[in-house]
Chain length 140, copies 2
DNA sequence: TATGAAAACGATAATCATTTTCATATTAAG
DNA sequence: CTTAATATGAAAATGATTATCGTTTTCATA
């Protein structure tokens, strides 16, 4: 059975604070260092893996490495939880959309393809970035 | 303006032959070697980048590297083309589904998020693999 | 308090896909 | 044929992630 360590708590706390603001393992390390509780990268990866297995964080892998995002407050088996990732700002948004669920059901029935909502990341542009057309921010 | 080289033609031909059977850069290199026309990995990556920019191939990046798939015959601005990737066999399927388009419109109108179909990869399990429950194949 | 085994830690090395570098080869005009 | 632009390939560099391994922490028990 797993031990409770201060690193584990620190990583979890840091992810909670970020909320829907997804981050990379390196960014997490930087956050922790600045918070006065430095944690080794290897340990961070280990914790993230555990948290993902436990269903407490979402992991989504893109070109420049994986992004992790806290989702502990959301019901674990929650099928209506979908992920939208903004290509501009890198933020990951959770959406609770009946139509999305309906579509997935449709794909399963008519196209014989069973979508895994937890592993699916819809890519596009969020409203904030769409409104800023041209204004450049920290991409990811 | 780009020169026409035999490597360029070989890479394109190889991708065409694979059709909807997506592959990695390394697999492409292997194909070309076996076809008696070995091409350096660096060149393959360079060609893939050009082809992607030209809209001739789709690039989708997952955990274990990117997958490339020929899509030259499909209209470039074709918004109704969606990608489904099987988590088991790694195959990428194209789906032309009106409901998918309707959903994306819904997300834009109601959730203020504009989906980029070309960059979105729906992940799940295809019918073939679902029917083989347990039988293991070459995962990716 | 001690002890000790299980589990976790961190520094570092290893992997692996992708990119860069750079010297050489190929292409397409003139 | 010459030449300048572009492409190639081998090898080194990069960067994220994982594995290794000796050390440290946790926690139940003495």
């Amino acid at each position: 059975m797993p031990y409770s360590t201060k690193q584990h708590q620190a990583v979890l706390r840091c992810l909670e604070q970020r909320g829907e603001n997804a981050c990379t393992a390196a960014e997490l390390a930087e956050d922790l260092r600045r918070a006065g509780c430095p944690v080794g990268l290897a340990t961070i990866y280990r914790q993230l893996e555990k948290l993902e297995t436990a269903g407490v964080v979402h992991k989504v892998s893109g070109e420049e490495g994986a992004l992790y995002q806290y989702c502990g407050h959301q019901a674990q088996g929650h099928r209506d939880c979908f992920l939208l990732k903004c290509e501009r700002c890198g933020r990951i948004r959770h959406v609770d959309c009946t139509q999305l669920q309906a579509l997935y059901d449709h794909l399963e029935r008519e196209h014989h393809f069973r979508i895994n909502p937890r592993g699916t990341l819809l890519s596009g542009v969020c409203d904030v970035c769409a409104g800023e057309e041209g204004t450049h921010h920290g991409d990811r």
